[in-house]
Amino acid sequence: MVSTAPSTTSAARAPRPSMRWRVVDIVIASVLGVAGGLVMVVWNLTYQPITAPIEAALPGLQALLYGVWLFPAVLVGLVVRKPGAALYGELVAAATSALLGGFWGWTAIQWGLVQGLGAELVFALLLYRAWGLVPAILAGLGAGVGMAIMDLTFYYADSRPEFVVIYAASAMTSGAILAGGGSWLLTRALARTGALSRFAAGREHAARADS
């Protein structure tokens, strides 16, 4: 296999990258997932006092901050850019948070699965070709839909429509902004440190920072 000769602009518009997972893809996806799980553990222990006042103001609105649980899905998807990366990242994060904190026991895995699928589905619909801010926001939104489905069937089944609407809208907004936009910013900041030099995500952002 002979690759086409790279020109100076080839970093941004490289030939269609392989969909196969390299070793470094797997390891970095795992490491980012575990780090995300660690953040989740800290968040599990601190979120209630932070969200309780919001909930008191308008029930369901507390989900506006729940995007913290969704960012590993989008982040790993954006960095690794392989089919399954968002799902894998969120699952590893969820499993890590269960193993380290044990807050909700194994149920965390179910949430991780559905939330990860929500983000994964968006990246898949975009044919794993689009990784900008808008795709990131949409993927975060997808993860937020997953979270809303889980919460509204497991915890808040048979709530009145008003509550369901507020909760779902908050969860999706949070997914889009905190998880989607936040992960895009994190990916860009990571790329600028040179840490992602073996990833297309890292080379693109670095190239843009140079110019």
Partner: protein, 796 residues
């Protein structure tokens, strides 16, 4: 072979590696240009290394040494990662087809071990290459012995010293039975004792020339006795090649100028102190120190830190040098006793009344104490080098002009001008060290506290560092440094404070524990039933009977705990939730977990259940009589019933998920997922390896927080602090991950071969029974709801 041949079974690894004996390495007009870079890292390289040769590879940073090692190890990546030209071979073949012939040892002791237990880690490579289990069991203890490690096979790999970790990683490489070992600065991050350990282990391995050795190092004195040939790389080409003595004679001066530690050409020492020490800036009395969350390591320390003086804290590993330095710097609370700032130090702008540095604000601290951390990446908080230098002055309220007047001269003085716009994380090790010292100097603090400042530095950076510190001393500043570096102590005329070995367990004896998770140390005896090889199991004591929940296969425990959720989800009614909960509570004692512990674990669910029920009470579907109505709230007959049902259902879903959660260690969970559930081994093992990094990430997070306090940005708002912390944590994690990926791939990870699973993960009768009971309980609950007519489908 370094490991005595024990008569390998035919059809074993010989089928994979038909060539035995020492390997030859060769490159012909070979070039490599990484994707996204214009210039090649290696250009037209010609090189031939014969089987059994021992070669030291020298060159400035960026000359392509590491790239060459990775190329021979076959882990440079595919065509989308870079462009190659020319020919590069191992035993005359493409390195990609010489899997297992090349062993690669990297620099970072924390980023190349894969698994939680020593024996498992050594077995990792052969497992990936599908070596038969019996053969691996033979190799593991031999490899451990070959590197001179006397560790139990279940030793916790996170608790070893740096030298032990590197030797363990070497053992993992040897278990592949390679024909060549490539070492990439294997001792750069080790203290002198660790350096000796690793060098001695390597010397023993290559004594009979059964392996080719290629080592990258800038400390010639350590490796010169072990090698017969030196190759010098310069800008991607061979600049010199020959016997050690010849190359040193011809090129010694040039090499030394480029930072190589050439024997007999020690870097220049600064002039001795011109004045006697002045007044006391910091005073410790009866000080006892301990790391956060750890045991006290030193007691009864009395120490005066005086202006114009350098104090070197020395002593063996674990003596508490770093802990003492951080305590003096106000970044750790004293365990007992006091650290008190003298009048002169308190008078520095902004003045403080409080004498104890650990109670100062971040801003007060950065004006007085400049701290240089061992890992510079812990202390970087800005996107560019220039802004990094301005962080301290800005924290002190300097205007942009004032800050620039400090920053610009520092850029020149520390040769950072060309890098001013770069991210600090992209700098080389030596550049990062200069920058970290420069950031500490930017606020002109009277006291500098440094943790192992000269660790792993090339001779040029070392000389610059010594000169900077001497200048600070001669300007009337005080310096406290934790160090192993005898030469630096001598160069600065430091007053040496030797810390006695702390009365704590050595790393070796501390490894008896199991892999421990962050929060949970509660149930820990599960390890006794997981022998890595036959003999170990009988030795393990069984102080108490293992709880049933601990003996379940992790996959069975997960399945049994999640099934109620999946079945009960279809309905929300009091009967099904109540029946399921009642049956679960009846069976709970069978699991054998201590009641108090169980209650503690269940507390999140016990709190969540009533809170969730309350939400349903207020906002559940209304029906029947309405009792209260305001804003969105409707309390009705129906919402009261829904609240009751929700309360029971949250418990019925949550209790099994937590009660059956036995905190299996990651290795055991991975074995079950890979063997019983047949999930792809690459992903399972990737996650398991990443989980091992958790304890490092936690240490990183603590150090990052400390460093932010020392940098003067510790008083910032919570959201900003957290965002910066998360980014730094991710950078460090990705760096370790990148190194880990190279190490894992070099050990056969990702090879398209059927993997050997050395640890059994049995599926027993109780596992099937647990899953069946989970199904039966939930089915009974649903049946009860249907029979009583209470079934209330949630999707309607």
């Amino acid at each position: 072979m370094p490991i005595p041949d024990t008569g390998r079974p035919p059809g074993g690894d010989e089928a994979l590696a038909p060539t035995t004996g020492a390997a030859s390495l060769a490159a012909e007009a070979w070039s490599w240009t990484p994707a996204g870079r214009a210039a090649p890292v290696l250009a037209g390289l010609d090189l031939a290394i014969e089987p059994g040769e021992r070669v030291l590879l020298l060159g400035a940073s960026g000359s392509g040494k590491s790239t060459l090692l990775q190329a021979f190890a076959g882990v440079l990546g595919g065509d989308d990662e870079g462009e190659r030209a020319g020919v590069l071979t191992v035993d005359g073949r493409d390195p990609a087809h010489a899997r297992g012939r090349i062993g690669l040892l990297l620099q970072d002791p924390d980023a190349q071990l894969v698994l939680a237990r020593a024996g498992d880690d050594i077995a990792f490579g052969p497992e990936n290459l599908g070596v038969p289990a019996d053969e691996i069991r033979r190799r593991v203890p031999l490899a451990l012995a070959a590197v001179g490690l006397d560790l139990p096979l279940d030793a916790d790999t996170t608790r070893l010293s740096g030298g032990q970790k590197q030797r363990l990683a070497l053992a993992g490489v040897l278990a592949l039975r390679p024909g060549a070992v490539l070492l990439d600065e294997p001792t750069a991050q080790l203290d002198p004792a660790g350096v000796r350990e690793v060098a001695a282990a390597v010397a023993a391995l290559i004594a009979d020339r059964s392996m080719t050795l290629l080592v990258v190092e800038h400390r010639v004195d350590v490796w010169a006795p072990l090698v017969d040939r030196v190759i010098v790389l310069e800008q991607g080409r061979v600049a010199a090649d020959g016997p050690v003595a010849d190359v040193m004679r011809a090129q010694g001066e040039e090499l030394a100028a480029r930072g190589v530690w050439v024997p007999g050409r020690a870097p220049e020492h600064p002039a001795p102190a011109s004045r006697a020490p002045g007044e006391t800036l910091l005073r410790a009395r009866g000080l006892a120190v301990r790391p956060r969350g750890g045991a006290v390591v030193q007691v009864g320390i009395d120490l005066d830190v005086r202006a114009g003086e350098v104090i070197a804290l020395t002593g063996v590993n674990g003596a508490g040098k770093t802990t003492l330095a951080l305590t003096l710097a106000g970044l750790l609370d004293p365990a007992s006793g006091d650290v008190v700032a003298g009048d002169a130090l308190r008078a520095v702008d902004p003045p403080v009344e409080e004498p104890s540095p650990s109670r100062w604000s971040s801003r007060a601290l950065v004006a007085r104490l400049g701290v240089v951390f061992q890992n510079p990446e812990h202390q970087f908080v800005a996107p560019t080098v220039r802004e990094e230098l301005a962080v301290g002055p800005r924290a002190l309220g300097r205007t942009e002009e004032e800050a620039a007047a400090i920053v610009e001269p520092l850029l020149d003085r520390l040769r950072l001008r060309a890098l001013a716009g770069s991210s600090p994380f992209t700098l080389s090790g030596g550049e990062q060290r200069r920058l970290s010292v420069a950031t500490a100097l930017a606020t002109a603090p009277p006291v500098l506290v440094l943790d192992e400042p000269s660790f792993g530095q090339d001779s040029r950076t070392w000389a610059e560092l010594a000169a900077l510190l001497a200048a600070h001393r001669d300007a009337g500043g005080a310096i406290v440094m934790a160090t192993h570096d005898r030469e630096l102590v001598a160069a600065l005329g430091a007053r040496e404070v030797v810390l006695p070995a702390a009365g704590v367990a050595s790393p070796l004896t501390a490894t008896r524990g199991v892999y421990r998770s962050v929060v949970a140390d509660d149930l820990s005896d599960a390890r006794s039933e997981r022998p890595i090889n036959g003999g170990e199991a009988s030795r393990a004591p069984r102080p108490r009977r293992t709880a049933l929940v601990e003996r379940l296969n992790p996959v069975a425990a997960i399945a049994a705990s999640l099934i109620p959720a999946l079945i009960l989800i279809v309905t929300l009614d009091i009967v099904s939730a109540g029946v399921a909960l009642a049956l679960q509570l009846a069976l709970l004692p069978l699991l054998g977990a201590p009641p108090r512990l169980l209650l503690l674990r269940l507390s999140p669910v016990l709190i969540a259940a009533p809170l969730t029920a309350f939400t349903l009470l207020l906002y559940g579907e209304e029906g029947g009589r309405v009792y209260a109505e305001f804003l969105l709230v409707r309390i009705s007959d129906n919402s009261i019933e829904l609240a009751g049902a929700t309360f029971l259902r949250v418990l019925a879903i949550g209790i099994p998920a937590i009660a059956l959660f036995a905190r299996p260690d990651a290795t055991r969970l991975g074995d079950a997922l890979g063997q019983n559930l047949r999930l792809p081994a690459r992903f399972v093992l990737g996650a398991v390896a990443a989980l091992r990094l958790v304890s490092l990430m936690r240490d990183d997070a603590r150090m990052l927080e400390r460093a932010r306090r020392a940098r003067g940005v510790g008083d910032r708002g919570a959201a900003r602090r957290v965002a910066g912390l998360v980014l730094s944590l991710l950078v460090l994690a990705v760096r370790r991950g990148s190194s880990l990926a190279i190490a894992m791939e070099a050990r056969g990870f990702g090879a398209p071969l059927p993997r050997t699973w050395l640890r059994p993960s049995p599926w027993r009768g109780i596992d099937s029974a647990a899953v069946l009971i989970g199904i039966l309980i939930s089915a009974a609950a649903l049946a009860a709801a249907l029979l009583t007519g209470e079934f209330n489908a949630i999707l309607d």
